[in-house]
């Protein structure tokens, strides 16, 4: 099931064997035969990749919304905050960016595709696209509008450029009318795109 717009690259199950796909098989086989990597390690990596996704980042955001001490830790050391709830990215230098009534944060990697993937999974194509990387720093409001996000002129938009050594996680504003919700309920409001900063969190009605 796909709920996203028509892709540039098809949702195909492997598709035809291109030269680059042949190269993928060739390099992987050689690395395994030479003992550089092992089958078991590779399968463990596939499993780790499957466990990653926006549900991890959403847990952090929901906890930050609920627990002032955790929000404080996220502000000071987001890597430690991830680690403290058992999330994987101990190696990642993570900065949490809090959206407020005055400031809206959005994340890009202008040079390539750096992204907090242990917390959000693999990035969507558009995040890696030439157009996003180029345009969001030049005209962020126009790009946000493509996602249906329009912000009042009084809100300052800050664009953060990721690097190999530094990744960002946006903490969207907590939606109104969610007082008394538990962390699990709140986490359902926190989408991948809201943690990149291109949309707000879902509303109670939008769930």
């Amino acid at each position: 099931m796909h709920d996203h717009p028509h892709p540039n690259q098809p949702d195909e199950e492997d598709g035809p064997f291109t030269e680059y796909r042949l190269l993928e098989v060739a390099l992987r086989e050689l690395l395994i035969e030479k003992g550089v990597i092992m089958h078991a390690e590779l399968h463990k990596t596939y499993q780790m990749m499957d466990d990653r996704g926006p549900h991890n980042g959403a847990r952090m955001v929901a906890k930050a919304w609920s627990d002032p001490a955790y929000l404080d830790l996220m502000r000071r050391d987001a890597t430690a905050a991830a680690k403290s709830i058992g999330l994987e990215p101990t190696w990642l230098n993570l900065i949490a960016l809090e959206n407020t009534d005055a400031v809206h944060n959005v994340v890009v990697c202008t040079l390539c595709s750096c992204y907090p993937w242990p917390l959000l999974g693999l990035p969507p194509d558009w995040y890696k696209s030439r157009a996003y990387r180029s345009d969001v720093v030049q005209n962020p409001r126009k790009v946000l509008a493509e996602f249906g996000t329009t912000l009042p002129e009084t809100v300052e938009v800050r664009v953060h450029d990721s690097s190999a050594d530094m990744r960002y996680l946006v903490v969207p504003k907590r939606p109104e009318g969610t007082e008394g919700w538990c962390e699990e309920q709140l986490a359902e409001l926190v989408t991948r795109d809201s943690m990149i900063g291109v949309v707000p969190a879902l509303t109670k009605e939008g769930l």
Binding site: H4, D11, R28, L30, L31, L111, W126, S134, D135, Q138
Partner: protein
Amino acid sequence: MAHKSLTDYRGVHDLGGVLCEPFAPDEHDYAPWEKRVHAVRELLATKGLLRVDELRRAVEGLGEEKYRRLSYYEQWIWAMTQIMLERGIVTDAEIGARVEAVRARLASDG
């Protein structure tokens, strides 16, 4: 005065603020082969055999035409292979022979 191309003054990858294409927020579900490329890269990185800046340097060395034409994981597998060659972990001859062997195997599998 002749119009300067992107690479006249900055790297082909260095796209911040260079308005070039209309933006559309599309995406696709990653194919299994793309996930395999990602997993092998990650494993090589954890073993200290492939740094992320090294991979990017190789991707940036693709040249403008290929940089634009190749898909993301096509860029990655090409760049990963370059780094493995540079580090002497595999040789050109081994890669070439294995690509042909895989091609033949797939052809005989029909």
